[in-house]
């Protein structure tokens, strides 16, 4: 099964994406995640129908940078909105309305606020998708019919063959020991 350049293939000579293990409960998948984390793997993931409390810790996931991105997006919105109103009202076409100064900053606050929110919202969604590598409509895992129940009531751990510590037998043994109810190879 193993090849010399550490590209694993199945007996049908198809390259392997990884090993997929199924678990029945949130507790068992959390324990398995802790075991995989402690064994020192890096390219692996768990798949659960809903976000499980404490899974980030069990997997050793680092805190996302998303809030920083959103703050940057929000301040961009605020800045652009204010610049737009200032330039249009006080620079490009000066016109006295309601007896107010051309640069009447108090009146510019509501739109500045709204556009700050709008830009933050778009950054939050687009940033989340970009960091997650989505949209990606095709993935090796979708080939497995069993994997489809990750959207229903089953819990999965997948360790990728690209991980430096990946070894077909030892990785399988680790997942078996963690209490997997089924284990299978996923082709690329």
């Amino acid at each position: 099964m193993a090849a010399s350049n550490r590209i694993y293939v199945t007996e049908a000579n198809e390259p392997i994406y990884g090993i997929l293990a199924e678990f029945a409960t949130p507790a068992s998948v959390c324990h398995a995640a802790e075991a995989v984390r402690d064994a020192g793997y890096h390219k692996w993931d768990t798949f659960t129908p809903f976000p499980i409390h404490g899974m980030e810790e069990a997997m050793g996931v680092k805190r996302t940078k998303l809030p920083m991105l959103v703050a940057a997006g929000g301040f961009t919105g605020v800045g652009l909105a204010y610049l737009m109103q200032w330039w249009m009202s006080a620079v490009d076409y000066q016109m006295v309305t309601q007896g107010k100064p051309y640069h009447s900053w108090q009146a510019f606050v509501p739109i500045t606020f709204e556009l700050g929110i709008l830009f933050s919202a778009f950054t939050a969604i687009i940033g989340m998708l970009a960091l997650n590598g989505l949209p990606r409509w095709n993935h090796p895992l979708f080939k497995k019919e069993r994997f489809l129940s990750s959207s229903d009531d089953r819990f999965f751990v997948c360790i990728e063959a690209g991980d430096t510590k990946f070894d077909p037998d030892r990785t399988r043994a680790l997942l078996e020991k963690a209490g997997a109810t089924s284990i299978e190879l996923v082709e690329e």
């Binding site: 076409y93 709204e114 997650n132 989505l134 489809l148």
Partner: protein, 532 residues
């Protein structure tokens, strides 16, 4: 389970939402309604009834969109579509004829159009309140109602946005509202609250839609996977979309839900960023929802019309919007939970009671605002202001004013009684009154303030024309039709969120329940019926 658990253990399990009331099960204590109205301190009422497993939740909720269309759906859809086309026809007539087709006149130049705008945009506020503010407050019960409430928000914003759009007179120049260079090189007036409104409402509509879509991505992926699995097991299993075209319903589902779910694959690394994004959206939507109705109120408050020029407007409008929005959520969900099988397991009496309490609270806040307006009109010593308010209550529109007071201030007081606020029929009745009352509130504010100006020669009355009535009734049809489409094609509940609040979702539940029955897997199949 141990017989004498350590006290700390009880507390921690209670905090984790794991403690189950003893009376629960097949025969709940009659005083607890369906088992969720339990008031014992320290006992957390269940959020989902009948010990549903994860699989049950998926089957029941996906069943609402996958099963045969319920018999009542087609006539309802046809009727509401008819009303919506009536709206379209009247709008066409209005655009061709001009806004003189409405009952507007020189004196009352804002009437039903702006009343309807504020009415609909107010209804939209409950959705964001449930999804954002209750999310930040960690109110877990929101998971059962947030999807429907958010959908309602978006449909209400669609209805609302129609009215200012057709009210401007030369509708083909609506794009002048946006900062786009026009033939005269003039930019919009950024000092006008009407322009703030354009930005507030369009931001609100966009952010609500994004929030709704973000929450829906995992649930659309569930529908995709179910269609995909059925296709793998039996490619010929589902009916053709139309005869003679080799495209099956499940293929269409797999394509459409697959496209919309963006390839979501339930990865925990993705969930981590997803939850961060969701929390951020909740955090920014909270000030947004408060700002939008404040800005709507500025349309009135920054003018110097007696009856409009008051500083109480922003908080009073926001409270009224939440009030009217929750009434609409209840009006939609109470019939839905009767019509759809097993929906009462998700929308429990506790949910209805909680929303009734919010109606009681916000209704009383609105009542306080009404009385405070009167007090300030007297205390402020401005004779025009005082006249405007006396005229509101005792002038020619007295009937509208007292309809508003009875519906908005008096009728919610029924909810002080626990029996009444937990009886769905009573809640539905009060919600209907509140919805009527909130429409009248906007009518009273707009029309009674305008119909008397400083000179008697400027006094007039407003009489609606069939075009006024047709467009308003049609907007109700449009709103209900969009909601029916939502119930048919989109998961009505946030499945992933509902599963996460089930007791068995905690990774500690099995450690704690050594020997307790496994909620998550087998043994619950007997309950799994209905959804298929």
């Amino acid at each position: 389970m141990t017989i004498h658990p350590h006290p700390d253990d009880i507390t921690s399990r209670r905090l984790a939402g794991l403690a189950q009331p003893a009376a629960l099960g097949n025969d709940p204590d009659p005083s607890t309604g369906d088992g969720t109205l339990i008031d014992t301190p320290g006992v957390r009422p269940p959020l989902v009834l009948n010990n549903r497993s994860f699989g049950d939740v998926t089957n029941i909720i996906c069943g609402y969109t996958e099963n045969k269309v319920p018999v009542w759906w087609y006539p309802m859809a046809a009727m509401t579509a008819g009303l919506a086309s009536l709206m379209g026809a009247f709008i066409l007539y209005l655009v061709i004829t001009g806004i003189g087709a409405w009952g507007l006149n020189n004196q009352v130049d804002w009437a039903w159009d702006i009343t309807n705008f504020v009415f609909w945009i107010g209804i939209g506020h409950a959705g964001t309140l449930i999804s954002a503010i209750l999310c930040l407050l960690k109110q877990k019960w929101r998971t059962a109602v947030n999807r429907a409430a958010e959908a309602m928000t978006i449909f209400a914003v669609i209805c609302a946005a129609t009215f200012p759009g057709i009210h401007i007179g030369r509708q083909w120049m609506a794009w002048f509202l946006f900062p786009i260079p026009n033939a005269n090189n003039i930019w919009p007036n950024f000092r006008s609250p009407l322009l703030w409104d354009v930005f507030a409402v369009s931001t609100y509509g966009t952010v609500s839609a994004l929030f709704w879509f973000l929450g829906m991505v995992p649930d659309l992926a569930t529908l995709r996977d179910r269609a995909d699995r059925r296709l793998r097991q039996n490619p010929m299993g589902s009916p053709l979309v139309v005869p003679f075209l080799p495209l099956r319903v499940d293929q269409l589902r797999a394509y459409i839900y697959g496209f919309l779910s963006l390839g979501w694959r339930f990865s925990s690394r993705h969930w981590h960023r997803y939850e961060a994004a969701y929390l951020i959206l909740a955090g920014i939507s909270t000030p947004l929802v408060l700002s939008v109705h404040s800005i709507v109120s500025f349309d009135f408050a920054t003018s110097i019309v007696p009856g409009w020029h008051t500083t109480i407007f922003p908080p009073y409008f926001v409270a009224g919007a939440i009030f009217g929005g929750f009434a609409m959520v209840l009006m939609l969900l109470i019939p839905a939970r009767e019509l759809y099988p097993n929906m009462k397991d998700f929308v429990t009496l506790r949910h209805l009671e909680n929303m009734s309490k919010i109606i009681l609270l916000t209704g009383s806040m609105v009542g306080f605002a009404y009385s405070m307006e009167f007090f300030i009109a007297w205390y402020g010593g401005n004779q025009f202001e005082l006249y405007a308010f006396k005229n509101r209550a005792f002038g020619p529109y007295w009937w509208a004013y007292w309809t508003m007071i009875s519906c908005n201030v008096i009728s919610p007081q029924l909810f002080w009684n626990k029996k009444l606020r937990t009886t769905p029929a009573v809640i539905f009745f009060v919600s209907t009154l509140v919805t009527i009352g909130m429409w009248f509130e906007r009518f009273v504010i707009i029309v009674t303030s305008l119909h008397r100006a400083y000179l008697p020669g400027e006094w007039g009355m407003f009489h609606p024309t069939p075009v006024d009535i047709g467009i308003f009734v049609g907007s109700i049809g449009l709103f209900l039709h969009l909601f029916l489409l939502f119930m048919r094609f989109i998961p009505m509940f946030a499945m992933a969120e509902l599963k996460a609040v089930l007791p068995q979702a905690s990774p500690h539940s099995h450690d704690d329940h050594a020997g307790a029955p496994d909620h998550g897997t087998s043994g619950q199949a007997a309950h799994a019926g209905g959804g298929h």
